[in-house]
Amino acid sequence: MKIWGTGILKGFVITMRNWMRGPMTVQYPEQRLTLPERARWTVTQKFNEDGTTKCTGCLICEKECPDHIIRIEMSKLEDGTKHIDDYVYEVGACMMCGLCVAACPFDAIYMSHEYELATRHSADLSRVLLHDVDAYVKPKPKKEDEPDA
């Protein structure tokens, strides 16, 4: 059995060399890493320049979500356009896969870089992204813009 050789002394040297390199810790609340552009965190709504939603209520994201955590409650207005009562997003159950964003044909949602998701109340794990707004109607097929209800 070969024991007590140079390998052990070398181990001492290497650990000391790493001490000299200094700690690699990023002290989180004070220092933060920059996230790359593609980092996926919570799903967030995009808005038009005038502040109206880009969501047309097509329900593709709801169908696409593998975990069924997006729920859109809608009602039809008299003129046949859609009205979004609630766009509910269960952030606590979201696995940030990005499939809803990839599927959205109207570029109405994106994966934000909001990663501090701990909350004190379980109710905060469910977010209402849109509440009581008219669904966006693309200007191309219909030229009229819905006035806000």
Partner: protein, 327 residues
């Protein structure tokens, strides 16, 4: 009454030193290991995390004193003290400066090693009384290991004892005024550090704790201040073997080339403790750098390598001293 008071003060001072040592060493261990692991270590509680250990002590004190249902109640209760008391007793014969010791015993070294060898009993008690299989294995390992490494530890200190011609630690240190024993006794010194590491269950010989195998072994079922005592005893043992190494091999309170300097002499205790802390630092460094040896290899190493070598060194040195040095 007047005769008792100074002794009581000395004992209390030793207890204070032990507790301060514990607090400082835990902080030091975390910082040293942190830096070796390219981390920062504690830095949130107080400036530079200095109050971290204090916070831990408060935490341990306020924890519920849990006892496993099936534990052997009496043994479980007493085991931490059986571990802790010998490690406190071992402080008594240590000489920190000229005439600075709790008690000066002619057989100080023998006393120290004798009380140190009581510790395995406590560890075995803790392991057995917990009624946990992991603790039992840990306790058994500790017992086997300490019995195996007591022998080379004892044999390795015989060299300095022969050179000094005394078992009194103060006399051994005084004999090193001109020549530290580490130079003539280098082989004994190597055996001493290995055996001392093993005897105090430090990495790479932390068999009884074996984080990745037994998950703190014998201390598995302990919580609160009971665990605190086991923990404290471990750090106090670290200090004892480092201090003993300083006294036996590194000239205690003497500085090289300044042995007669009155300022250096008046700083004796500081020098002594600083040397001991350097030794502790090396022990911590080993903890950061080395993997753990396996238990059968450990025992084989003690019985097949360390004991024969140390035994032959004792014989060789006895011959050298008798035939060459003392005419």
């Amino acid at each position: 009454m007047n005769a008792v008071a100074p002794i009581a003060i000395r004992i209390l001072a030793m207890l204070g030193l032990l507790l301060v040592n514990g607090v400082v060493l835990i902080y030091m261990l975390r910082k040293v290991l942190g830096r070796l692991h390219i981390r920062i270590g504690p830095n949130r509680v107080g400036p530079f995390g200095l109050l971290q250990t204090v916070a831990d002590v408060v935490k341990l004190l306020t924890k519920e004193d849990l006892m496993p249902d099936s534990a052997d109640k009496w043994l479980f209760w007493i085991a931490p003290f059986v571990v802790f008391v010998p490690s406190f007793l071992a402080y008594l014969p240590l000489a920190f400066g000229p005439n600075l010791a709790v008690t000066r015993l002619d057989t100080g070294l023998l006393f120290l090693l004798a009380v140190l060898s009581l510790i395995p009993i406590g560890v075995l008690m803790a392991g057995w009384a917990s009624n946990s299989k992991w603790s039992l294995v840990g306790g058994m390992r500790a017992a086997g290991q300490q019995i195996a490494y007591e022998v080379p530890l004892l044999l390795s200190v015989l060299g300095p004892v022969m050179m000094a011609g005394s078992l009194d630690l103060s006399k051994i240190i005084e004999a090193q005024k001109n020549l530290w024993f580490v130079f003539p006794q280098f082989i004994a010194f190597i055996i001493y550090i290995i055996a001392a590491q093993a005897d105090t269950q430090q990495t790479p010989f932390d068999m009884s704790e074996a984080e990745s195998e037994l998950i703190t072994g014998f201390a598995n079922e302990y919580g609160g201040m009971r665990f605190g005592f086991l923990f404290l005893a471990e750090f106090s043992n670290m200090f004892i073997v480092a201090a003993l190494g300083t006294a036996l091999f590194f000239g205690g309170w003497y500085l090289p080339f300044l042995a007669d300097n009155p300022i250096a002499l008046s700083l004796g205790p500081v020098i002594f403790i600083a040397k001991a802390y350097i030794g502790i630092f090396v022990m911590m460094w080993a903890r950061g750098a080395l993997p753990r040896i396996r238990v059968d290899q450990l025992l084989a190493f003690a019985w097949k390598a360390l004991i024969p070598i140390s035994l032959s060194w004792v014989v060789i040195w006895a011959c050298i001293q008798r035939l060459v040095l003392v005419r």
